[in-house]
């Protein structure tokens, strides 16, 4: 029987530095949610996703999102079987345990919405067949927010389906040296089958049983409510954000070996949960501010219990 720590350690052995990214991916998996990774090319976003998929076994599929991608390239299609004389359903890459949607903002809205519908409903319709997606199921999407040419911005309503949005920054100098030492000689080879899919499903059940005190719940709700009407905020986070904060606080506590969530869990997770759910108004750009600073101010304005 494996533990989530073993998966986290396996990822940490593959990914140099980026501890927050590793933790976020494991917490997303524990919370049975989807994770959006934002960062410059070459900061190990894809490698981190591959490492997670390898560590928990199961079926892993990667889809490189491009402008000419079609919904059927993701969901699947109906192929005519000449022997039986009937159309048969051929499932697309969405039917996997871990789906890596690489550069999700490079595909048009129709493809994005097909993927996000699958993420939300946990099932996909191919012709007359509505098929459940495998369990566990997680979409890990990457996005390069700086190279906006030829991209299709994801609307807030669709971004809301991601439990967590993680900013993947550049590694420290020490880490970058370690990356060069380790990977210039041999390609990165993620550790495989550290845990099983059954383990993951068990952890997900255990996470739901982690205790969330009323005061901690209220703190999560107050944080989300504080985003509405805050300075520089055009539209605040939805109630789904409070749900996400609660389940992720439980996941963080579980990963930390606790049977209860504490205010720190909520506070630490708040930027990642709120970042993609809050729309900032034009005055922020005029004043030269950035969203994360505004979010930090909002979080600081709500007293922790």
């Amino acid at each position: 029987v494996s533990t989530p720590h073993e998966v986290r350690d396996a990822l940490a052995r593959t990914i140099v530095g980026q501890r927050e990214v590793v933790d976020a991916l494991v917490m997303g998996l524990l919370a049975d949610g989807h994770v959006l990774l934002e960062g410059m090319p070459g900061v190990a976003k894809t490698l981190a996703c591959r490492a997670l998929a390898g560590a928990v076994g199961g079926i892993f599929k990667r889809v490189q999102f491009t402008p000419d991608l079609l919904p059927s390239d993701i969901i699947g299609t109906r192929v005519f079987d000449q022997r039986s004389g009937e159309f048969v359903t051929v499932r697309g890459p969405l039917f996997a345990n871990i789906v890596l949607a690489d550069e999700i903002n490079r595909a048009p809205a129709k493809v994005q919405s097909a993927l996000l519908e699958g993420m939300q409903e946990r099932r996909a319709t191919i012709g007359p067949d509505t098929l459940p997606l495998p369990r566990p199921f997680a979409v890990l999407a990457t996005m390069n927010p700086f190279d906006a040419d030829g991209t299709y911005a994801l609307p807030l309503a669709q971004l809301d389906r991601f439990l967590l949005n993680v900013r993947v920054g550049y590694p420290s100098r020490e880490d970058e040296r370690a990356i060069v030492d380790r990977f210039s000689a041999a390609a990165a080879e993620p550790e495989r089958d550290v845990a099983t899919l059954a383990d993951v499903e068990r952890w997900q059940v255990d996470v739901r049983a982690v205790h969330l005190n009323d005061r901690v719940r209220d703190y999560a709700v107050d944080l989300v409510r504080a985003t509405r009407g805050a300075r520089y905020v055009a539209s605040g986070a939805s109630p789904r954000a409070a749900l996400a904060l609660a389940i992720l606080a439980r996941a963080r506590a579980y990963l930390d070996g606790r049977s209860f969530a504490v205010p720190d869990d909520v506070r630490e997770l708040a930027p990642g949960v709120l970042r993609h759910r809050v729309a900032f108004d034009y005055r922020l750009a005029i004043d030269g501010g950035d969203g994360d600073t505004v979010l930090a101010e909002i979080v600081a304005s709500v007293p922790a219990p």
């Binding site: 079609l70 919904p71 059927s72 299609t77 109906r78 192929v79 005519f80 079987d81 000449q82 004389g85 159309f87 051929v90 319709t125 191919i126 012709g127 007359p128 205790h211 005190n213 005061r215 901690v216 049977s259 209860f260 969530a261 504490v262 205010p263 720190d264 506070r267 630490e268 007293p303 922790a304 219990p305």
Partner: protein, 304 residues
């Protein structure tokens, strides 16, 4: 009604805006209308030869049956060719009792020895049963291109290829089995994990007692009342003692404390459990907190 010049200008502006909006939405509407509503019941792809020689021409036939009566089927996307050249194509429409059959016959010639491949033919259409856009696709097709003076030679080559394929499959199964056995043996030999216990932290040097009165007072109130409010007050006093600013959380207090006072860190951790833990853990945690606090305060009593 404003018949003045300004009124006419406003009117013209509105009309221009409406026209612009219609023009802007027209492509989207047109795109939605592009997909035909079709009940496709067959979409086959086959060749009239299984094995051909380089340069030999043969036919690849795409057959589509739809339930609708249609004159044309422009939406059919023909297969892409690999290792074959397109010499021409012919489309035939056959009206039948239950709809329409379309036959697209491609005349192609194989290029070099190996395989001539044809990607699936497909149609994007709206399924009337669900009202959703859908891709209907044929299977891909491969035709072997062999170097034989006759097709019979090529057929014997096909037999050899089949045998080679069978041998490869058996070999692959053997390799997988060997790997599985090797994995099991390795697993059985794997040494048991040794749990490393970190060395116990050295006891802090005994110092003269600092001012503990707020802590004693908060503890006294908590011992007397035992409610959440008094526990919150006690936590805040503990955090302040760790060096955290008012409104800090446990993590802030730990950061402010650093490695200075591990016992205080332990007391704060138990206080968190007593405050936020599940119901069945809170009472034991509260007892532990009182015991730890007493020991903590005794250890810091001024030496007589």
């Amino acid at each position: 009604v404003d018949y003045s010049g300004a009124g006419w200008i406003r009117c013209a502006e509105r009309a221009a805006f409406v026209c612009a909006a219609l023009l802007a939405f027209a492509p989207a509407a047109a795109y939605a209308q592009n997909l035909p509503v079709l009940r496709i019941t067959a979409l086959g792809l086959h060749a009239d030869q299984n094995v051909v020689r380089p340069g030999q021409s043969f036919h690849v036939i795409v057959h589509v049956h739809i339930r609708e009566k249609r004159d044309r089927l422009d939406e059919l996307v023909l297969p892409a060719l690999t290792n074959a050249v397109d010499l021409g194509d012919e489309r035939r429409r056959v009206p039948v009792a239950d709809g329409t059959d379309f036959y697209e016959t491609l005349t192609v010639a194989a290029q070099t020895v190996g395989t001539a491949s044809f990607s699936p033919a497909y149609i994007d259409a709206i399924d009337p049963a669900t009202g959703r856009g859908m891709r209907y696709s044929s299977q891909p097709l491969s035709v072997r291109v062999a170097n034989g003076s006759t097709v019979a030679d090529a057929d014997s080559g096909a037999l050899m290829a089949l045998l080679r394929k069978a041998a490869l499959t058996v070999g692959a199964i053997a390799v997988v089995l060997a790997l599985a056995i090797a994995g099991l043996v390795r697993l059985a030999r794997r040494p048991k994990r040794v749990v490393e216990v970190p060395p116990a932290a050295p006891p802090p040097p005994r110092k003269s007692a600092p001012v503990l009165d707020p802590l004693r007072e908060a503890l006294r109130v908590y011992r007397a009342r035992g409610d959440d409010d008094s526990l919150d007050t006690l936590r805040n006093v503990l955090f302040a003692r760790a060096g955290a600013v008012p409104g800090a959380t446990f993590a802030d207090a730990l950061r402010a404390l650093g490695p200075r006072d591990p016992e205080l860190a332990r007391v704060m951790a138990v206080a968190e459990r007593a405050r936020f833990g599940p119901v069945h853990e809170r009472a034991p945690a509260a007892r532990d907190l009182l015991t730890l606090m007493d020991a903590y305060l005794v250890a810091r009593e001024p030496v007589a």
